[in-house]
């Protein structure tokens, strides 16, 4: 009986894993098939692999992009996602420290709405604010600049870093806090030397989360960039092979795109595996 239970459990988990991985694995396999094999009614299992979709994605498809290659767009995405995540961390560390420290004065009354405001930025449907946003960006000449995107994504990422960090700061034990202050340590030294160091795990858990969300962001980038600051997701949208009617060719193309989205995520997750659950714990408990 225990063997049977164990057996059903293993089979169950295997089926669950297949449902998670199967569709993607299938899509990636299909991206190596010739179009003929792809549209055959019965699935083809043995086939001569083709690299055509990848050539299209990295080289020939670039003709649909305004003077840029897809590799450049990947670089743009990397710059924007990287800088905006780091900027969000740097911007929010002092503010989160204040929120966790100053419980009972004017600041606490003011800091809670601030937390909610940053959270609301991430949660509202993009096109409910996209047009006013575009309007503002046009006025300030920020459209189609990497800086403009980094600015926007930093604000979006604050919604992750602020609550995570303020929660983590408030869990630093009061003994450590008091001992440092008694020894004549000033608040800013305490912040720089002790507090930031002791929430390092939380910083490492929030960073990949912020990075991934910016790496794949499409709606805002779609309306705010045109050529110079195009990111990879917008490029994918532009490079969908005409006549853009989601036929077999587009499917192959999407398969080749999927790899470029999974790889960085897998690398980050494998490097920072033990922080993944922590990120959610922080995000929710606080």
């Amino acid at each position: 009986m225990p063997f049977f239970r164990h057996f059903t459990k293993v089979v169950g988990l295997a089926i669950a894993a297949a449902i998670v991985v199967g569709p993607i694995a299938w899509t990636v396999i299909e991206s190596f098939k010739s179009e003929e094999d792809l549209i055959s009614r019965t699935p083809v299992w043995l086939f001569a692999p083709t690299l055509e979709p990848y050539r299209y994605l990295l080289v020939s498809g670039s003709s649909f992009l305004p003077g840029r290659s897809f590799v450049q767009l990947l670089l743009n995405s990397f710059v924007v996602a990287g800088f905006s995540s780091i900027a969000a961390v740097l911007l929010s560390l002092p503010l989160a420290f204040l929120i966790s420290r100053v419980r009972f004065n004017w600041f606490s009354r003011f800091s809670t709405p601030l937390l909610y405001l940053s959270f609301a930025f991430r949660m509202v449907p993009q096109f409910s604010i996209a047009i006013p946003l575009l309007n503002v960006y046009r006025t300030f000449g920020l459209t189609d600049t990497l800086f403009g995107l980094i600015l926007l994504y930093s604000v979006l990422n604050l919604s992750i870093t602020l609550p995570v960090f303020s929660g983590a700061f408030s869990r630093i034990s009061p003994e450590v806090n008091d001992a440092a202050l008694l020894d004549g340590c000033s608040q800013s030294t305490l912040f720089l030397r002790i507090a930031v160091g002791s929430i390092a795990p939380n910083i490492f858990s929030a960073l990949p989360l912020a990075f991934l969300l910016s790496w794949n962001e499409l709606p805002y980038a779609r309306i705010l960039t045109r050529s110079d600051a195009l990111t990879a997701p917008v490029g994918v949208l532009m490079m969908i092979p005409p006549p853009k009617d989601f036929d077999a060719e587009v499917f192959q193309f999407m398969g080749s795109v999927a790899i470029f989205q999974i790889l960085p995520a897998m690398i980050l997750v494998l490097l920072l595996r033990r922080f993944v659950l922590r990120a959610w714990e922080d995000y929710i408990v606080d």
Partner: protein, 287 residues
């Protein structure tokens, strides 16, 4: 009291350092809100022709816009179905994962991140093609089991269910991760005690897991409701068969160029989404 006073003055450098973050958030919010309010009261177009003030006419037009109302109804259906499936499936699966060995757990977490790391346009394509009437794998399997399949692209309500399926497939892993984070807070000895007492899985989940994980379940529900209001890229491969509010506003603004009208619709959607958020924050505050 003395220490407190000292702390107050001492914090000045940190307060100065936190000003940029405050400015960015407050300024961005107020400028965007101001711009939204002014735009939605005009008939601004994408082509730079001068906009006229039209008062609340845009909002009145929205109440008579059948396609907008239809997209709201579709949204209600998609949200209800996908969130309820995601939460119950997420709860069951995370419970199974949590009971297994450490190795299975870390393997599962790596697997679960895959759907979350792919953009929704790719996910939409994957499911549209798996169910493709002519050469999709799922259609093939169903056909060979002699189950008749239909062309989803010609059937809006079936296509809506496919949207739900794609959404469930992508986001159940997130719910599982949230629940796993919650289950880590359950003490080991509760599990052992339940096993010794011979509690069945179902009653353990109902009596112990759900009550203790309440805050995690609530946050998962709210995150999922709010995120499902944001469905946009997922619908691109559906080529207009399915329209949800966020997507509809996009079409209004960038296909028809009705920026003024679209910002009015946007404002309505904004109010809907932020009132859900406020209700959630109230619930959380009571905890």
């Amino acid at each position: 009291v003395k220490v407190n006073k000292k702390q107050g003055s001492d914090l000045l450098p940190i307060q100065l350092a936190s000003i940029p973050a405050i400015i960015v958030v407050v300024l961005a919010a107020s400028i965007i809100l101001y711009s939204a309010l002014t735009l939605s009261a005009t008939n601004a177009k994408l082509s730079n022709q001068p906009a006229e003030f039209v008062g609340v006419n845009n909002f009145l037009a929205a109440t008579e816009d059948h396609r907008f109302i239809e997209s709201l109804l579709s949204q209600a259906l998609v949200t209800t179905l996908s969130v309820s499936v995601e939460i119950s499936l997420g709860l069951l699966l995370s419970y199974e994962i949590c009971k297994s060995t450490k190795r299975v757990q870390s393997f599962a977490i790596v697997m679960l991140v895959i759907p979350l790391s792919i953009s929704q346009i790719v996910i939409g394509s994957i499911w549209v093609f798996l169910f493709n009437h002519a050469f999709g794998l799922v259609s093939y399997v169903l056909n060979s089991l002699s189950i008749r399949t239909i062309d989803l692209m010609n059937d809006p309500s079936a296509a809506l269910l496919l949207v739900v399926l794609a959404d469930v497939w992508q986001w159940t892993p997130l719910v599982i991760i949230i629940m796993l984070a919650g289950m880590r807070t359950l003490q080991r000895n509760i599990w052992d005690a339940a096993e010794i007492d011979g509690a069945s899985d179902i009653s353990f989940i109902r009596r112990i897991v759900v009550p203790t994980l309440r805050p995690f379940i609530i946050i998962a529900i709210v995150l999922r409701i709010l995120e499902s209001l944001k469905i946009f890229e997922l619908l691109i491969p559906f080529q207009g068969t399915v329209s949800l509010p966020n997507f509809y506003i996009f079409t209004q603004s960038f296909h028809y160029g009705e920026l003024g009208y679209a910002s009015a619709l946007g404002l309505l959607l904004f109010i809907l989404s932020s009132s859900i958020l406020i209700v959630f924050l109230r619930i959380r505050g009571e905890r």
